[in-house]
């Protein structure tokens, strides 16, 4: 599964993207965030306020409770400021 990061989430994680092997039992976006936070302080920092970071699965916005089953690319980013 590919993870991609944008804006200050990218800066805090310290990479633009990575391929991860997600262990069994990680069913939702929220589960994935919890698992990532256990991987190092850069993730802890990026997701320190979980309510702020947004997620998208395969280019579609999702809520923390969304299932990640079958996802090819999951993105994490701050609230958008385009326009």
């Amino acid at each position: 599964m590919k993870l991609v990061y944008f804006a200050w989430v990218r800066e805090r994680v310290g990479k633009t993207d990575e391929d991860v092997e997600v262990p069994e039992g990680i069913g939702t976006v929220a589960d994935l965030v919890r698992w990532l936070k256990g991987r190092g302080e850069e993730y802890e920092y990026a997701f320190e306020n979980e309510g702020i970071v947004r997620a998208a699965i395969d280019h579609v916005h999702v809520k923390p409770g969304a299932s990640i089953a079958g996802a090819r690319e999951i993105a994490f980013f701050p609230p958008m400021t385009g326009g």
């Binding site: 804006a7 280019h59 579609v60 980013f77 958008m80 400021t81 385009g82 326009g83």
Partner: protein, 151 residues
């Protein structure tokens, strides 16, 4: 309805985009063009840098466009959003909405902007006059509220 969506680093030409919408037809009575420009924030900024999520930006704007087309009787809809480094006074975003009558064109353009601001995966960061890279622009609650009025 034909619509045009482009994500690009280059500037855009509002007149040329408008001409594309209206060419060879006489059923359009109203065109609303919204242009978003980079401000210098009282001289504080030398540029805004826009990061985007390639692939998702196009897909999300396409979804927003489809919603607008279902809601209003549009005869044309164009969205161009730039990324990269943009100087004060330069254009960032263009929304063109065409319809037979003005209400649909005004509402659709306003709707598109409210959704672009809060749903399209773009992020702005400030480049300051003193040469340093400033903060990421924070999302505004007012923008979320603006979007909610369309719910």
């Amino acid at each position: 309805m034909a619509h045009t969506i482009r994500i690009q680093a280059e500037p855009f030409d509002v007149a040329a985009e408008t001409a594309n919408l209206t060419a060879e037809r006489a059923d359009i009575g109203a065109i609303v063009a919204f242009t978003g420009l980079c401000r210098d924030e009282g001289g504080r900024l030398v540029a805004l840098e826009l990061e985007h999520y390639p692939g998702m930006a196009e897909a999300e704007i396409d979804r927003i466009t489809e919603q607008a087309e279902k809601r209003w009787p549009l005869l044309g809809l164009t969205v161009i959003h730039r990324f990269g480094r943009i100087s004060p006074g330069e254009e960032i975003v263009l929304v063109l909405a065409a319809s037979a009558h003005r209400t649909a064109a005004f509402e659709a353009a306003s709707f598109m902007m409210d959704y672009l601001k809060t749903q399209a995966p773009f992020w702005k960061r400030e480049h300051l006059k003193d040469g340093t890279v400033g903060a990421w622009v924070e999302a505004k609650e007012a923008d979320d509220r603006a979007m909610e009025r369309w719910a």
